[in-house]
Symmetry: C2
Subunit: 224 residues, 2 copies
Amino acid sequence: MVYRRTHQVVKRLAARRSAILTAAREAAAEGGMSAVQIAPVAVRANVAAGTVYRYFPSKADLISELIAEVSRDELAAVRRAADAAPGPSSALAAAVSTVAVHVLSQRKLAWGILAEPVDVDVTASRIASRREIVGEIASRIDAAVRAGHLPAQDTQLAATALLGALHEALVGPLATDALDDPAKLRDTVQAVTLLALRAVGVMDARARGLVVQAVLPVKSLVGA
Amino acid sequence: MVYRRTHQVVKRLAARRSAILTAAREAAAEGGMSAVQIAPVAVRANVAAGTVYRYFPSKADLISELIAEVSRDELAAVRRAADAAPGPSSALAAAVSTVAVHVLSQRKLAWGILAEPVDVDVTASRIASRREIVGEIASRIDAAVRAGHLPAQDTQLAATALLGALHEALVGPLATDALDDPAKLRDTVQAVTLLALRAVGVMDARARGLVVQAVLPVKSLVGA
DNA sequence: TTCTTTCCTGAACAGGTGTTCAGTTCTTTC
DNA sequence: GAAAGAACTGAACACCTGTTCAGGAAAGAA
């Protein structure tokens, strides 16, 4: 007598798993990582606390997967925006602006994913998350360097610095909330994008043009 | 019969308090903030756990004061370096380089002060710590703008971004250890300083010169 | 329907660490 | 030297959450 999972059961299991992850994501978006606790997440996902452990070996695994998921989404958005740009420099501008808009749109989530204190060790997935985005930005910088638009440089270091600049300026504790006013949001995104482009060596006049190019299409993402 | 603290006692109390803070600082420098636990710190300071509470109402207060202390030291160093510079642009370069050298010299401590997860709430003192440094850098950028060396900009935002860039690039999880090799350390400091100066609008050629000016004197600080 | 396997539940458990406090030691005053 | 106040000790306490697990429910095989 062999027990076999019906297709229906497989689907339900997947749905539950997804529901738990979604609950965790919502909790993080609303209250930061500190709100991602097993019991509350279980309640939100309509399961018992113990059930969470049938899907995730530990809280660390749950959060790690949450980080990976959010990170995947962001990376995809950045790639999409950059690939749609007409040239390597605009691609870089688009990538930076996209990151900026994303973190501004979901500040608590971004802060949680990136840097908020968590009681379990999620260093590995946070590093992986950073690596993905930094790698993407670094390769865009590289492309611009190869195209002769930027001076040669340590692109990995530069990309890391850009990520840090964006996060500290936009979601760090000193960041002012820029979401209440669309115009302010646009200005902020423009300002940090300009800063980032100049940092890697784009000439000022050219940078201004690229920023406008990059920010305009990205505006449509706001609120999405 | 009134009890009055003798001068000697006052001195001893102050020494104890300072010993506890120093123990906390050492613990943080060696093992990060997670190593700053009441019991171990008490042992290191040669007092009982309960004694710590005669000097600090709670662990949060202890850590907050630690953060404030380290922050004061850093701010003083930055001011000293910037004030010694010949002009506003070099002052900015010196300030940035000093921050860079400091965080590289004490990576664990810097990471702990700034961003490492702590089980108690030290948000307020972390914000204060950032504000001090960011304020200092912002005022240096301001000075350079007023001198006509930089384009007008949101200096607060720029300074915040610079701080984030430095930290992410130098002590963040993606940072490579640059302390093992003096030459590498110098190159890294130069690279991030250059990045920072360009970000706020210093022209490339001029930036290179400023970086060299700023990094040379700062090298003597390494190891101090 | 009945047996077996899997899945789910949620109260109890466990572990680690900040904090307390009754008892002890040291200081000051007279 | 003795009384009184202050400081110190460190074991016990308290609290908070992640994790477990015995019992029960649901789903598949026969």
